[in-house]
């Protein structure tokens, strides 16, 4: 009797779960750099993604979104491999990918081979991704590296009085784009960039790079991220470095500012620019910071979300909102979803975001300065907020296209 009863329960539960399975799911593949130099960035990106899910929920009408996460290591081939795996094995219909610059260019090119699917950029910021030959099914809700530097060059020249600077950066597309934005503005204001050093992504020993830094400059701009940035600062301090520093968007970021050890203190007073500022008083931003802090215990997160968390939050939010607008309708090669994504205007925590005709974000940028909160934790403090930054950085598109694409030597240091 008991046995048959148990059998019945088992059978009915099986049937019930079958019914639950029958409810349609929307499968979304997510990639993040959970290996290698940018591990910390990827982890915080996923935290931002999770925060968005906590805030908005996974339901779209009577369907539910299922997110599947795959890991990459910031190299383009790892990103394409992860995306392929998600599409072919996990049968995802939508991609939320990738995190890093070179990955972005590769995934955009891959997106063209699968025009029926939808790709929402998670956080990558190379200019080329959406500026050169953009893919019609690739949407980017974060600004690119050059947009994230808007305001820094002028602030350095006018307010700080820097006239000559040198740059050190990782040798790949996102940092090229960042230096591009900086050099255009700084040289446009009359400053000089005397030396640009490029180091391979994943460099551990910066001692010789530090020794080769010029002495006769007012400040040194650092375009490094993740482990590279921490190693640089550590060795810079050991070498007794004293120069003024300027930072790129992933250099002055919670991923570095809350690293263990005291090397980060070399960053105190550093000026930087990014798509966010830790201490911005805007209500939407504060609400997001609170949601992020509440979602994870203090030892499993940063004191305040990093740029990556914010980007993943925004792209996840854009996707969920657009899916809800079309009620989860993915028929006709997801045409309705793509239309909704292109039109959506986000009330993001770091300012309003809308897309241009290349499906590239137009948003708000922040110039910041690193401050100590009095208890040893470092934060980026807002010194200037610049709304409506577009991909051509306010230049006429014709003039902008003459400058050339970001690279080790482009742009030249002159007024365009």
């Amino acid at each position: 009797m008991f046995r048959s009863c148990a059998g019945l329960i088992a059978l009915s539960s099986l049937l019930l779960s079958g019914a639950a399975l029958a409810q349609e799911k929307i499968k979304v593949g997510v990639t993040a750099t959970l290996e290698g130099t940018y591990t910390v960035l990827g982890e915080d990106g996923i935290r931002g993604h999770q925060t968005a899910i906590n805030t908005l929920g996974k339901k779209v009408g009577d369907k539910e979104i299922e997110f599947i996460i795959a890991s990459t290591d910031a190299t383009p081939d790892s990103a394409v491999r992860a995306v392929r795996k998600l599409i072919e094995q996990d049968k995802v219909q939508i991609l939320l990918s990738p995190l890093s610059g070179d990955e972005g260019i590769a995934v955009k090119n891959f997106a063209k081979t699968r025009p029926e699917l939808t790709f929402v950029n998670a956080a990558s910021g190379a200019q080329e991704t959406t500026y050169v030959d953009p893919a019609p099914n690739f949407f980017r809700y974060n600004m690119d590296g050059a947009q994230w530097q808007v305001g820094l060059g002028k602030y350095a020249y006018d307010t700080k009085g820097y006239r000559k600077i040198a740059t050190v950066g990782e040798d790949y597309s996102f940092i090229y784009t960042q230096v591009f934005g900086l050099v255009l503005e700084f040289c446009g204001a009359g400053g000089q960039v005397t030396n640009r050093q490029w180091v391979p992504l994943g460099t551990k020993d910066f001692a010789s790079v530090i020794a080769a830094l010029p002495d006769d400059v007012d400040a040194i701009y650092l375009g490094l991220g993740g482990a590279d940035a921490v190693n640089f600062l550590n060795q810079y301090q050991q070498a007794g470095g004293k120069a003024h520093l300027m930072g790129g968007s992933i250099m002055v970021d919670q991923t570095i500012l809350s690293a263990k050890g005291n090397a980060k203190n070399a960053l105190l007073g550093t000026i930087a620019a990014s798509g966010q500022a830790d201490t911005w008083e805007d209500a939407g931003w504060q609400k997001f910071v609170k949601a992020y802090q509440d979602a994870f215990p203090p030892n499993k997160r940063f004191p305040s979300p990093s740029l990556l968390a914010t980007n993943y939050y925004n792209s996840t939010m854009a996707l969920i909102l657009a899916l809800r607008q079309v009620n989860g309708d993915l028929s006709n090669n997801q045409a309705k979803l793509k239309e909704a994504l292109a039109k959506i205007e986000l009330d993001a925590p770091n300012g309003k975001i809308k897309l241009d005709s290349n499906r590239q974000a137009i948003g708000t940028n922040f110039v910041t300065e690193v401050v100590d909160d009095g208890k040893g934790a470092l934060f980026s403090k807002v010194v200037k907020v610049i709304p409506n930054v577009n991909q051509t950085l306010g230049y006429d598109p014709a003039v902008f296209s003459k400058i050339g694409l970001p690279s080790r030597t482009v742009p030249e240091c002159k007024k365009y």
Binding site: G36, Q197, V199, K204, D205, S208, A211, A212, G240, G261
Partner: protein
């Protein structure tokens, strides 16, 4: 040495000239023409010193690797994990007690203990089966990497340098002469010099232990003919355990060194495994002096490369490896 000069007089002359040139580059004040063509002397000197100190770190990792290989013919591909594990132990201890030195001691013994367990539980069961050991160590390195990611997360850890080691000191090497005739001396991070000295001391101690003690004699005999040594009644398994413990412990110490002047994070394990593979391939598998030479060559190549040909810096290391494999496949200082 004299035999080498007798056998290869031309090579000996070239080596002598190269050494003399290097000494001149390091000691002399550079004429302005030279500074214009290859840059400031400060940059060059720094790159050379950095190459040598980086080499000393590589030596610490690779010497344990090559010692284990030399005696047991066992390519321990989990060596990088031992390095990273040692670094994390060093971080935990020095953060907890505030003592950098204590971090070294406990990292050495902690990782040596892991080495002993590995030898007894894993390697003893598959003695002489190279392929199986290699596969198992690859598997172990992946398991260790995930366990450490679970325990320590993806954060970057830096071991706090004790305050008496922070900052640069002036070395009695002139980098330039100011127009006033005043000499400018090289300023160099003290902590790197201390690490260099420590690596040299460890290297010499190991050489002495191998060549001047009874245990060292057993190890050398084991390298030459393991079976014969066992037949003479030496407790070979005990020697194996001791060597594995020492090799693992050295990797642990290297982890603390690496955590002090670089940083610890997931991925460092494979990086240092690769570095020590390249070092022992260049230097010669199983040879301690070979590991020292290979480490210095690779360190110098990386640092000089990153200054003078930054774009191709990564290639240089592997180019050296390819050249060695093509011209002297057993490695520079391997016997035979």
């Amino acid at each position: 040495m004299t035999r080498f000069i007798e056998r290869h007089p031309a090579w000996a002359l070239i080596a002598l000239v190269a050494i003399a040139l290097l000494l001149w580059l390091i000691l002399a004040v550079w004429p302005p023409g030279l500074e214009e063509t290859i840059g400031r002397k400060r940059v060059f000197l720094n790159a050379v010193f950095n190459g040598i100190t980086l080499g000393s770190l590589y030596f610490l990792v690779a010497s344990g690797f090559t010692l284990i290989f030399g005696l047991m013919r066992n390519v321990n591909l989990a060596h990088g994990s031992l390095y990273l594990f040692g670094g994390y132990i060093g971080y935990a201890i020095s953060a907890w007690t505030g003592s950098w030195i204590l971090g070294f001691i406990i990292a050495f013994f902690g990782v040596a203990l892991v080495g002993i367990v590995l030898q007894i539980v894993v390697f003893r069961r598959m003695e002489g089966q190279d392929l199986r050991q290699t596969m198992v160590t690859i598997g172990l390195s992946i398991v260790f990497a995930d366990l450490m990611l679970w325990a320590f997360g993806g954060d970057f850890y830096q071991i706090q340098t004790p305050s008496w080691l922070v900052g640069p000191i002036e070395l009695p090497l002139v980098t330039a002469v100011r127009s006033s005739g005043e000499a400018v001396y090289l300023r160099y991070p003290l902590v790197r010099l201390v690490i260099l000295v420590a690596a040299i001391v460890i290297g010499i101690a190991m050489w002495l232990a191998l060549n001047r003690t009874r245990v060292g004699m057993m190890v050398r005999a084991g390298v030459d003919d393991r079976d014969m040594l066992a037949a003479t009644g030496v407790p070979i398994q005990l020697v194996f355990v001791a060597v594995f413990a020492l090799g693992a412990g050295l990797a642990g110490i290297a982890g603390v060194v690496g955590g002090t002047f670089q940083s610890l994070s997931p991925g460092e394990d494979t990086r240092f495994l690769l570095a020590s593979l390249v070092v022992v391939i260049v230097g010669g598998m199983g040879s301690i002096p070979g590991a020292a030479l290979g480490a210095v060559i690779i360190g110098l190549a990386e640092q000089l490369g990153s200054v003078y040909i930054p774009t191709y810096a990564i290639v240089v290391t592997f180019l050296i490896m390819v050249l060695v494999l093509a011209l002297r496949p057993q490695g520079l200082l391997a016997r035979r």
